[in-house]
Subunit: 265 residues, 2 copies
Amino acid sequence: MCELLAMSANVPTDIVFSFTGLVERGGVTGPHVDGWGIAFYEGKGNRIFKDVSPSCDSHIAKLIKSYPIKSEVVISHIRQANSGGVSLENTHPFNRVLWGRNWTYAHNGQLTDYESKFLTHSFKPVGETDSELAFCWIIEQVANKFGEKEPLDMIPVYEYISELADRLRLHGVFNMIISDGMNLMAYCSNNLCYITRRAPFGKAKLKDTDVTIDFDKETTPNDIVTVIATRPLTTNEQWEILSAGDWCLFRLGELISFSHKATIE
Amino acid sequence: MCELLAMSANVPTDIVFSFTGLVERGGVTGPHVDGWGIAFYEGKGNRIFKDVSPSCDSHIAKLIKSYPIKSEVVISHIRQANSGGVSLENTHPFNRVLWGRNWTYAHNGQLTDYESKFLTHSFKPVGETDSELAFCWIIEQVANKFGEKEPLDMIPVYEYISELADRLRLHGVFNMIISDGMNLMAYCSNNLCYITRRAPFGKAKLKDTDVTIDFDKETTPNDIVTVIATRPLTTNEQWEILSAGDWCLFRLGELISFSHKATIE
């Protein structure tokens, strides 16, 4: 199992606090020692840092912790390899361009008996992971369904992605974060939760290392910041726990669309 | 004008020495203050660092100078914006995936009267630069000509890319570096040169800052390392200067194919 972390905010926000908790799970409080990655959007551009070293030892992870890159959308992943070797091309997040937008994605879980069912033609994976193949398949299905030009309304696109995720989930565990840089989707298979912080802000204490932050000192009253994670990162806050098949779509920190399927399964 | 830098080597090699010279041109000895980027391949994966700060001031450039990432193929670019604003999405190198390979590209020069002539359908640019549009157009033409699967022999692919570059060059200055992670192509419009270093190695002195390196102490006798740059980076070595329309293809540090057109123009 791997660990996912993502953020959607209405102002460029750094993720140093949450990332500090996450990297502890990469070799200190968790077993996820097979590399890690993080994507920061800045407008339509994004920057992705990846490393095959455990996140707790990584030089680049130290840079991220000490150099707060501010972003409105962030996706991060630390990996415990189960499909594909430990290499840069097998490290999340993955990125593809569709409609002139960077789509970034990370997956937690493992699929089985999927290779022959999720073939792609235009969007081929670079590495050998089930995760990247699933991403390529999603992007190709979206391109095929919605055509060459980006739809004005993106909510139907994410509804369709949730249907594709439902199909992938039939082959195993499929917790997913995906974003086009503006919208951020969280799709839950078995482990995913989120918290939306807004005024009045309080203090938060990390679960994985002895760090406390007072968000009231780090924010303005208008800030809205949602953090998504595999498991709650803090001990003194109430995280929303998603159920199998649930998905949420965030934009500028706010929940703009969601589906709760647990009751009908 | 921007500055290009690239490397092809037969062993994973760090580019700290050449990059140290290049970043001086980003705001100290050169006017290229509108951001910079560098792509390092590690196998089929790559990592791309970009920054919109001048390279001489950049925190991330300091990381690259102090943390020698070893790679067999590197592409770097420092930018003086002439088309498209100063933003992450307009910063080179650009990356697209074709045939399950990361293709990375950087361009020096400026095109005019090109927008209507180089339309793309599948590979859309994210930013507003002539450079990224030209890259997307090249990749789309290659995909259309060679189909869904990567050819076994890549030399015809690069010959075709040189023909596409010839067409782009009709619209302005088009010095280009492009790579699939294994092969590295340099296409010259007006300013591009390279040097291949192999045993016996000697000392090299940077032109842009007071740094000298003794490659004999940094290498093994079997190392072959080619460095490509807009202008020679060192003062005491003989660089090969390319002419308009010339292109070279390198693999593992060696020149494997080239075309010299200057005499027929």
